[in-house]
């Protein structure tokens, strides 16, 4: 096994051992923390496809995270109040079934990513960063000023949504669902990276002219990656809202976009397990530093500054060294 493989295996082991230990020791708070880390990791896996593989510096991924969250909030609140979503052309009601909610969350965030991506990818570089940030803010303001679903106050759900055969109100069972989805997400990302599409996307990041001269369009590659990325982040948003049983415009805020990007980078952009390591570190820092000082974001900022200026490659880069050539 390569060193990166060993590091990845250790991360998976940690993800299994910590919550199971906490569950046995009857520490539901730690189970909840682990669930948060797992869900954020999934959001990061989504961003990493655009950022790490595709080289697209998107500061608007909170849009997809938030859409996933609101897909959950809106469907569940309609189910809760027995009011149909709409009556025309046919009556569609809300639902409290997780798989259905996920499907809707992924479709809608994919559609949003298609629109945002199609426009933003007409540009590159600094323009792309500013535009994704701006479109993210558009969704934020829309959520704030749309009164039907709580506006600024957000939406609360009384009971966590259901999954066939499981009791999602038991923290460790909900964690198991999230962990399973994270593993599926990682498996998909790994498959993507090794596929013809992944090779072409990665090459389009390094040498777009080369990709064009072998007959592929960087725009199309990037747009596909952006949509896939948005879909996965949207799914994570639905889970995150379900974890909190609450969704508010904060999920759409630019800070959310920034934080997802920060932990992906801290973990190691472009590395399969980078987002997972980063999310775990982020939750750990939030918990430990947050306990030390109410102003823990100062320390997070300093740490980030040091990593950016002096230690590139993130945790996985630090632990596993350079990637090994695979022929």
């Amino acid at each position: 096994m390569s060193r990166e493989g060993a590091v990845n295996a250790a991360i998976v082991a940690l993800l299994l051992v910590v919550p199971v230990g906490a569950w046995l020791a009857d520490e539901p708070f730690i189970v909840t923390l682990a669930t948060r880390a797992v869900i954020l990791a999934l959001a990061g896996v989504g961003l990493n496809i655009a950022l790490g593989l595709g080289g697209m510096i998107s500061l608007g991924h909170a849009a997809f995270f938030g859409i996933g969250g609101y897909a959950m909030g809106i469907l569940a609140s309609h189910a809760q109040s027995y009011e149909p979503l709409f009556n025309w052309p046919m009556t569609i009601g809300g639902t409290q079934s997780m798989p259905l909610i996920w499907l809707v969350a992924m479709s809608v965030s994919g559609l949003a990513a298609l629109m945002v991506g199609a426009l933003s990818l007409r540009t590159t570089g600094a323009y792309f960063i500013m535009i994704t940030l701006a479109f993210g803010q558009m969704f934020y303001y829309f959520a704030v000023s749309w009164p039907a679903y709580g506006g600024d106050d957000g939406l609360s759900i009384y009971v966590r949504n259901g999954f066939p055969g499981l009791n999602t109100l038991v923290p460790v069972q909900f964690l198991a669902i999230c962990l399973m989805l994270l593993m599926l997400g990682l498996g998909f990302a790994a498959m993507l990276a090794r596929s013809p599409f992944g090779l072409a996307l990665d090459a389009a990041r390094q040498a777009p002219e080369r990709v064009e001269t072998v007959g592929m369009r960087p725009y199309r590659l990037r747009l596909m990656a952006f949509v896939i990325s948005g879909v996965i982040t949207g799914l994570a948003g639905a889970l995150y809202a379900d974890l909190n049983r609450f969704v508010s415009p904060v999920m759409f805020s630019w800070q959310t976009s920034g934080e997802i990007m920060v932990f992906v980078i801290l973990g190691g952009a472009g590395r399969l397990f980078g987002p997972v390591a980063g999310a775990m570190l982020f939750i750990l820092l939030e918990h430990v530093l947050g306990g030390v000082s109410e102003f823990w974001h100062v320390y997070l900022g300093l740490l980030l500054l040091i990593v950016v200026l002096f230690a590139r490659g993130g945790i996985i880069g630090l632990l596993a060294g350079r990637q090994v050539a695979h022929g």
Binding site: S195, P196, L199, R210, V211, E212, M216, M224, I228
Partner: protein
């Protein structure tokens, strides 16, 4: 004369007040190497970009295998069989040599936008990529990072990626640039054998290579083609002598 594989008809391009191409019409016949020479700044690179698709001409047409491709982008022209190499190596440096070659082969067989399956899986694509590497002599370094290659090897890999496309026509922008005498002679020998497979439009400063390879030569000066003919015809052409040597004709 048979219909050319690749042709430009009356291409004009200017950037502000600077005219880069003025009514350029050249053609490339099956089985030939057509060299495009001219002093620095004559507009060769601009012309190549318009032929390959990176730049839209102000006027005129580009015709590939009898079809007007002027409105098509680079990728679409590549799909129609135009393979281009760059003056400055343009490779995915963080990928392996084999991955770069596979990138070239993907479009010709199968769907390169496929998200499942392995890009490097054994099969037609990989065979074709490996064959292209073997032809330029890079089979021994297939597993190395492209960034680890020497300058000469990178030039070879550029050619291998173009070969992997199985193109109908090659457009090569100074493939000999920066190669030493031996490397240049080896590549000259290789290109010599390639013309039967697909004709080559060759932009080159290395005159030994041009004289050894070219069936025909076009001389581009200040954006205009001032002469086209065999090596000997061009060498005797009074306009060419005047442009290069400043001689009174």
């Amino acid at each position: 004369m048979a219909e050319p594989v690749l042709a430009t008809r009356g291409i004009c391009k200017s950037f502000g007040a600077v005219t880069a191409c003025k009514d350029v019409s050249i053609d490339l016949q099956a089985g030939e190497i057509h060299a495009l020479i001219g002093p620095n700044g004559a507009g060769k690179s601009t012309l190549i970009r318009q032929i390959a698709g990176g730049l839209r001409p102000d006027a005129g047409r580009v015709i590939l295998q009898g079809r007007d491709v002027t409105a098509l982008g680079t990728a679409a022209r590549a799909r129609r069989g135009l393979a281009r190499t760059f003056q400055v190596s343009t490779l995915a440096m963080e990928d392996t040599v084999l991955q770069n070659a596979v990138l070239g082969a993907m479009r010709a067989c199968g769907n390169p936008y496929r998200v499942f399956g392995r890009a490097l899986a054994a099969g037609e694509v990989r065979d074709r990529a490996e064959a292209a590497l073997a032809r330029v002599g890079l089979q021994g370094v297939a597993a190395r990072w492209a960034s680890e290659l020497s300058h000469g090897q990178r030039r070879q890999l550029e050619v291998a990626v173009a070969l992997a496309l199985a193109p109908r026509v090659f457009v090569m922008d100074e493939p000999m640039a920066g190669l030493g005498g031996a490397g240049s002679r080896a590549l000259t020998g290789f290109l010599d054998g390639l013309r039967e497979e697909a004709p080559i439009l060759l932009v080159e400063h290395d005159m030994d290579a041009v004289f050894a390879l070219a069936d025909r030569v076009s001389v581009l000066v200040y954006g205009s083609v001032i002469a086209t003919g065999t090596v000997d015809e061009v060498r005797r052409d009074p306009q060419v002598r005047r442009a290069y040597l400043g001689e009174e004709a």
